[in-house]
Symmetry: C2
Subunit: 406 residues, 2 copies
């Protein structure tokens, strides 16, 4: 098997140590990592199994399948999971100093994604190994993953390059009369041949995305369940968001909100295009989105509160008379300006009300001011930025302007 | 908004009534449907919210977003979810005869997919409305969804047609020297322009799939975490299954295991192709997979136990000396012969040990005997069948034969 570890051993160790530090501060005795993305982050492998991390000492990746492959992918100690109903006994055997008689343990897990059925099973099995409570540790994981290391940043940059190339390659086929779906298929082809894994992972329950969306005119402004600023008519009630079979028309906004996932990492960017000319109101709104993103870019220095960036964007919208159209319309407005990206498209931090976290170097954030006009369409722009000590550095490669096609 | 219901009101009512019958038998007082796919099945809408179904009386879909869109998509009564922390009070108000003082309620939910964090929140909120326990009702949902109605069957047939067309359109580009990824991109393009929603949904935690896989030679035989008979090298540790950048070579098996999702419903099929000629051992194994699928097809009449079909396939493998290669190799063998398909790719029934459920008319099952040869590749065939009163009817449209390219 031509398989090698793609996260260096030192980096895996460092990530585990950072989690152990958080565990010690929070009086957590051990962490059980269950989700494939979290497994990959902390071990370098997303084989099927459970990664057990004690607050001090060596972690073990208990693998159900494929044990052989996991051994090649990770620097963490790997063991066969074996019969699942004996998992509690296995831990008791492997970590005797942790599971001592009479000691009540607090074991954390990624409960924001772990299904309740498996949670109950794990609680029962861990109960057999002593007195344990399985508590929610997902916030610790999300907090750690918020700060990207150089390897992660280089992968997001690679994804940014792929999206820029795919957009360039496809633009000459964006014409009056093509359907949203047909042109999206073309963009997705260009992304895929460049190594897009075929989907962009989302952490949120019931949320799904393939490569974003290309939505035009009135079809773009249809609200959806998707927790984002633009919806899209979609392909029916069983796929009620993103591209539809609507035909791209002259003088209507075309929102090109696309991304991809390269070597595990996603990028997210939006450009607005028009064949001909935008209606005056929408042109104005697009310009406001440009001015908001520029102002946000200036303000994104370490120490600025995420919530503050959202509030300032809201103030700009109010000053421009566009409050009702910002990030959706009416009851279906999304309540944020941007979001962290990385292994998943919906990471922390969120530029939103109540998110009083100060920016830190290493955060990567997609900022996406958009305006929705029912019956007319959606306009806006989205760039992804790395927060550095000196301020925001744009990772997005596509030219930041309205795309006007003849 | 040009949005209409795509599941007739009568059918939605019938599905809810079937669940209510199961609830009455099992002494469940109400059901809370939380997952997008389950929501779509029971309401016709997958907007973000909770569908509350009492064991008798009218259901309510409490929608967070988009309320406006949900009203157009479903025949079920729709209400705004409102402030989530008041959800228990809302139910108490809307269903006073259910939430009576002193009565302990058993409320079921789809706990096989609902994240533990949300489960705990819902338990707390429902607790506020009286004494309630939130129990696992996922088996009831899976059992009901096992039997497809004519609308569902027609959609699976539409998906089968799309896959057959996409395969035909792409085969002339399957040549020596093309990469798995590049040819898969081509297949996916053909699927997408015909309405594939961009992904095939899976119920299993940590399982993901876009359009299946095209895997060739040694790269196909690499084991993965994915719970299926073939793995694939994938695009790195962050996407460790399915297509890789491996180059398709002459005289090696090319496993084309593809599907798509049309109007919510998936199809799953596999064909084996070769440019030139298969090695003798693999040619023989391919012929055994053909004879197993034909024998299974004959045996798939109502009343046959699912477990029995798996056992008979195992016996055929043993008789052919291929037991070690069946559905993966060694420790990484998958333990099934086939699986239900519908809204998700991993539905019930499963043709596996211990699955002592008799076949019934309306089941749709993908049967996929495959053989793995480390270092050489994977061969096999997969068709999807509808169980009728008279036996199995193939839904797969592609010709059931080894594809030999010059």
């Amino acid at each position: 098997m031509n398989i090698t570890a793609d996260i260096p051993a030192g980096l895996v160790r460092q990530r585990i140590e950072r989690l152990q530090e958080a565990m010690q501060t929070e009086h957590i005795d051990a962490f059980l990592i269950t989700q494939n993305i979290d497994l990959y982050y902390f071990s370098g492998s997303m084989q099927n199994g459970y990664l057990f991390i004690p607050s001090t000492g060596e972690a073990t990746f208990y693998v159900r399948r494929s044990f052989e492959r996991a051994k090649l992918e990770t620097a963490v100690r790997v063991a066969e999971l074996g019969v699942f109903r004996h998992f509690g006994q296995t831990l008791l055997h492997d970590y005797p100093s942790l599971f001592r008689d009479g000691v009540e343990l607090r074991i954390a897990a990624d409960l924001d994604v772990l299904p309740a059925q498996t949670f109950h099973k794990l609680s029962e099995l861990l109960g057999a190994s002593g007195r344990c409570s399985l508590i929610d540790g997902s916030a610790h994981i999300r907090r750690l993953r918020m700060i990207k290391d150089p390897l992660e940043i280089s992968r997001i940059e690679a994804a940014a390059e792929v999206v820029a190339e795919a957009l360039n390659e496809s633009l000459n086929e964006l014409r009056e009369g093509v359907s949203e779906l047909a042109w999206m298929a073309r963009v997705e082809y260009e992304l895929r041949i460049r190594g897009h894994i075929g989907q962009m992972r989302m952490r949120g329950y019931n949320q799904e995305i393939t490569t974003g969306m290309v939505i035009s005119g009135a079809a773009a402004a249809v609200p959806t369940y998707f927790d984002g600023p633009a919806g899209g008519l979609g392909l029916g009630a069983a796929s009620p968001q993103s591209v539809s079979r609507s035909i791209v028309k002259r003088n209507e906004p075309i929102l090109i909100d696309i991304g991809c996932c390269i070597d595990g990492y996603v990028i997210d960017q939006t450009r607005t295009a028009v064949i001909g000319e935008l209606p005056v109101t929408l042109k104005h709104a697009y310009e406001v989105s440009e001015s908001i993103i520029l102002a946000t870019e200036q303000r994104m220095v370490p120490g600025t509160l995420c919530s503050k960036l959202y509030e300032e964007a809201l103030a700009s919208c109010a000053a421009s008379g566009l409050s009702d159209h910002f990030m959706g319309y009416g009851a279906d407005q999304a309540k944020f300006l941007g979001h962290g990206i990385g292994l998943e498209i919906d990471e922390w931090p969120v530029l939103a009300k109540g998110f009083h976290i100060p920016l830190e170097p290493g955060m990567v954030i997609a900022v996406e001011p958009k305006f929705t006009f029912p019956g007319q369409g959606v306009v806006g722009i989205e760039n992804s930025y790395l927060i550095t000590e000196h301020g925001a550095k744009a990772l997005t490669r596509s030219k930041a302007e309205l795309i006007v096609l003849p």
